[in-house]
């Protein structure tokens, strides 16, 4: 059975899956809207946790939060099953959902998704797709980051849902039972913005939000003096990779957030957010410039310590920009 499901191409997997699922139930929530209401924007820099021998950077909140927050704030009735012990049972329940006509979101590891080219198939366990059909052991997948829907064999889907390694998905799946016709969208938007304000400037820890960016800028300046050259460059590579991976990294999230603010202005007919929306776009462009310059620097292998200082300055500017945005928003939205 194949459910009549409208797939929309998205910039980011989880907000895309969430928005596609909500739209299936008749409520027009665009991808930036889902991202903003779910409070997806974040920044965290953890120098003491090493991923691939380099510090960890994250530009978004933890996986699963966008779906939970967005649907919760819109008052939708949802089911989220976090963990399965038995893969067969997990697949059976997915099949049952499809028979009932419920498109279902699943968390998967990208390594087993064969429709991606080999260079994309990394051991990355935070990917989200929507399963909306099944025919003779072949599943129809609404892959948010692809324009068209994809096909996947049952055994591959099962492997992907139970991918091993760090933070494995354990067959996690989620679906919507019902969505209210006229939710209080203003309240949802404001509570989403409040959460992001809190995450970005309200947590007094030097690794999170704007404080995290400033700390990273400070550390980045020291990299060439503190580390061997090859390693400093590798740290920078990791930074670019986590900020630009698959087009949905740091800068891209800032653009999506800006688009969310812009859309909110039109929806609420409220000009309070206009300044923040424009500033967000400028900051996002700055982020993109930062990744682009870093990539150029990695590529050209210029032997200069000044480069790290330049990048650090740009990062500080990004931090200052975002601090101003969220402080302004905090004043305006009470």
């Amino acid at each position: 059975m194949i459910i009549d499901f409208k797939h929309n191409h998205s910039g980011h997997c989880e907000s895309g899956a969430t928005s596609n699922l909500i739209r299936h139930y008749g409520l027009e929530i665009s991808e930036p809207m889902a991202f903003g209401i779910g409070g997806g924007l974040f920044f965290v820099y953890l120098p003491f946790i090493k991923a691939q021998e380099a510090p960890m950077f994250a530009f978004r909140t933890i996986a699963g939060k966008i779906f939970r927050n967005t649907t919760g704030r819109l008052g939708a009735d949802t089911v989220m099953i976090k963990k399965y012990k038995d893969p067969v049972k997990a697949m059976d329940e997915l099949d049952r959902n499809i028979e009932k006509g419920i498109p279902t979101g699943v968390q998967v590891g990208t390594f087993h998704l064969r429709y991606f080219p080999p260079e994309y198939r990394l051991h990355f366990n935070f990917h989200n797709v929507v399963v909306f059909g099944r025919e003779n052991g072949v599943y129809h997948i609404g892959e948010p980051v692809r324009e068209k829907t994809q096909l996947l064999l049952k055994e591959d889907l099962q492997k992907a849902r139970f991918a091993r390694g760090a933070f494995g998905p354990h067959g996690k799946m989620y679906y919507i039972r019902s969505v209210p016709k006229n939710p209080d969208i203003k309240k949802a938007i404001f509570s989403g913005i409040h959460e992001t304000i809190k995450n970005m400037i309200g947590i007094p820890v030097p690794f999170v939000g704007v404080r995290g960016m400033k700390k990273l800028a400070k550390d980045m300046k020291k990299w060439p003096a503190k580390l061997p050259e090859e390693k400093a460059r590798f740290y920078l590579t990791q930074f670019v990779r986590s900020s630009e991976e698959f087009g949905t990294g740091g800068a891209a999230f800032r653009y999506i957030y800006g688009a969310f603010l812009k859309e909110s202005i039109e929806l609420l007919k409220n000009d309070q957010l206009l300044e923040a929306s424009n500033r967000m776009g400028e900051t996002a462009s700055l982020w993109r410039e930062l990744s682009y310059r870093s990539a150029r620097f990695i590529k050209n292998r210029e032997e200069s310590h000044d480069n790290y200082s330049i990048l650090s300055e740009i990062l500080l500017e990004c931090a200052a920009g975002e601090e101003r945005i969220f402080k302004g928003l905090a004043k305006k939205i009470k």
Partner: protein, 132 residues
């Protein structure tokens, strides 16, 4: 070195590989764009970064072929995964994986253990041991 994965807009479109990006335009509006035409000089930003990793696993390959490390090292670099995560993925304690990085110890392993590694990487045992 040439670009590791040649990216061609037309070909990508045909193969359904285009991605969506949100951008901020000069007139103060946000737009959706498909593909990488956004980047200056028409160059894909990730190439540069991928290249860095490509060089890393080329070095890893040389090390394995010279007998300095076991093939596990090459597969780890190729899959961009570090030791502790790789150990979790395979289901073997990380101190044992670290031991298996030694080619002498690696060559004496039980075939069952090769199979375990190969299964985790979704390749055959042959591909796992004899890297090309």
């Amino acid at each position: 070195m040439d670009k590791p994965f040649s990216y061609d807009q037309e070909k990508a479109k045909a193969e359904n590989l285009t991605e969506l990006l949100f951008t901020y335009e000069k007139d103060g509006n946000y737009a959706k764009r498909v593909g990488y035409d956004y980047f200056p000089e028409g160059e894909m930003l990730y190439y540069d970064v991928w290249r860095m990793f490509r060089e890393r696993f080329e070095t890893a390959k040389k090390m394995v072929l010279n007998g300095e490390r076991s093939p596990i090292w090459y597969h780890m670099e190729k899959n961009l995964i570090d030791l502790s995560n790789f150990a979790k993925l395979v289901g073997i304690a990380s101190w044992r994986v670290k031991r298996h990085l030694n080619p002498k110890i690696f060559s004496r392993l039980n075939p069952r253990i090769y199979k375990k590694y190969a299964d985790a990487l979704d390749i055959s045992v042959e591909e796992f041991i004899n890297i090309k």
